[in-house]
Structures are given as C-alpha cells and as structure tokens.
C-alpha cells in the first residue's frame, strides 16, 4: 500500500510541475497557447487534489509521521497558498491580465512544498 500511495503522490506532484512549468513559460513571454494552458489547468486540478489526499493518507499510514507534525502542517499551509494563488492566476489569465507575480508566488509555494517533502524538518 505504501509503495502505491507514494507512487501516486509523486505522480500528482509531477502533474503540479506541469502547471508550474507551463505558466512559467507563459510568464517568461512564451506563447503557450490554449491547448497547453488547458492541459496545465487540468493537471493543477488533479495534481492538487491528488497531492493533498494522498499526502494526508501517507501521513496517517506511515508509523513515523503524524498529521500534526510541523512539516506536514507547513505543507498543508503552503498547499493552501499555492491553491489560492493558482485560482487567481487562472482567473487573471483568462481575463487577459498579467498574472506573472501571482504565478511566481504559486511556484515558490510549490518549491517550498518540495523542500518540506524532502527535508521533513522535525520528523
């Protein structure tokens, strides 16, 4: 069970990376186009839910982790920041406004999540 939870959790994280890379290309001035943005948004939806649900499941399943561990609570907080920023990026992008600043906030939150997942401070 642990192996499959971790695999699917990683796949969900990679889907989030698809979104981060696509919007980063757009923020850097590339003409990403409609299909790539639609794929990126779909990846964000599936990856966002997947990382949260499977991450909490892993925290409950693994004996060494507790859901109230500081790094897990920090990850949930960063996930909320990334989700909020992601929603704003999507809205502003759809309205044709410059969403670069909010996008970089989201990307930093995603990077912070990766740092927490690897270093697991306090675990």
């Amino acid at each position: 069970v642990y192996d499959w939870l971790l695999f699917l959790h990683l796949i969900a994280a990679f889907l989030i990376a698809v979104t981060a890379v696509t919007y980063s290309a757009s923020a850097l001035g590339a003409s990403t186009g409609g299909p790539a943005i639609r794929v990126a948004d779909a990846c964000w939806n599936v990856g966002g839910i997947g990382t949260l649900v499977l991450g909490i499941w892993l925290a409950l399943y693994v004996d060494g982790y507790e859901i109230w561990d500081g790094w897990i609570l920090g990850a949930i907080a960063l996930w909320l920041v990334a989700t909020g920023a992601g929603e704003r990026v999507r809205t502003e992008f759809a309205e044709g406004r410059d969403a670069s600043a909010v996008h970089w906030v989201r990307t930093l939150a995603v990077l912070g999540l990766l740092v927490l997942m690897v270093w697991k401070p306090g675990a």
Binding site: L6, G33, A36, L114
Partner: protein, 163 residues
C-alpha cells in the same frame, strides 16, 4: 517497514531534492512541448513549434542533466553505485535511453522551427517546407510521448523500488 521508509540520512537530502526538481522540470517541460505541438498538429503554428524547440533545448536537456547528475550523486551517497539494485539500473536505463529521444526530438523541433519560420517569411518553397515542419512536429510529439511514458515507469520504479 513504513517507519524505515520515513528515515533518511541528512546527506541524501540535497541530491534527492535536485534529482526530483530536475525530473519535475523535465517532465513538466515535455508535457508543455507535447501539449503545444499536439495543439498545433494541423495548423503547424510557428509559435508552438518555436516553443517546442526552445523548451527542449533550454529546459528539458538542462533539467535532464540536473536529474542525472543528482542521481549519480545520490547513488554515491547511498553506496549504490558499485552494485546497483534493479530499480537503480532501471532508472539509469530509462534516463540514458530517453536522452537519445530528447536529442532526436530537439533536432527535429529545431529543423521544424526553421522550416516554419521560412514558411512564415513566405519563402519560395513555402508549401513544401510547411508540410515538412508539420511532419517533424508530429515526430517530436511521438518522441516526447514515448519519453513521458518511460518517465512514468521510472517514477514507479523509484517509488516502489522493486527488487
């Protein structure tokens, strides 16, 4: 077993972080390239082809290097480089094979971008060049698609570590 999975020496963290970060940027870039080129499948949009080429050259190949060098560093920290287990061998095989695909895709995308630019400029053999760039664009989508499928297998191998 699950407790052991949660424990990792601190020295492994930086190479692991760089390995995953490189892999994430690599997969993200390949998905972007595939989506934009597949979206331009019929039209052969110059912007999409150019994005595909630049994405492969400036993001996919460098991130492959980061992923692969960090993998070597991590294997060395874990003392897995002398007699690597099957899942590490699988990772090496997939990464090294897909490098060939990535180089081929980059070359195809570069030629396609050049031809598409010629079409846009209205060159003498614009029609033929346009058809050629569309075909090369499709080849890039196929190559990148194969690489992406291989990376899903690699992620599975890294996560489950089958013996």
């Amino acid at each position: 077993m699950t407790l052991l999975a949660a424990i990792r020496p601190d020295a492994w963290n930086l190479p692991l972080f760089l390995h995953i970060l490189g892999a994430m940027v690599l997969v993200g870039t390949l998905a972007l390239v595939a989506a934009s080129l597949a979206g331009a499948w019929r039209g052969g949009s110059v912007g999409a082809i150019r994005l595909g080429f630049r994405g492969l050259l400036l993001a996919a190949l460098p991130s492959w290097i980061v992923m692969r060098v960090a993998a070597e560093w991590l294997a060395s920290e874990e003392n897995l480089d002398d007699d690597p287990p099957g899942w590490v061998d699988a990772g090496y095989m997939i990464s090294d094979t897909t490098l060939v695909l990535l180089i081929a895709a980059t070359v195809c995308a570069g030629v396609a971008a050049r031809r598409a630019a010629r079409v846009e400029a209205g060159g003498r053999r614009a029609g033929r060049a346009g058809a050629g760039s569309a075909g090369l664009g499709r080849a890039v989508v196929v190559l990148v698609g194969i690489a992406l499928a291989a990376y899903v297998v690699a992620i599975w191998a890294m996560a489950t570590k089958p013996t």
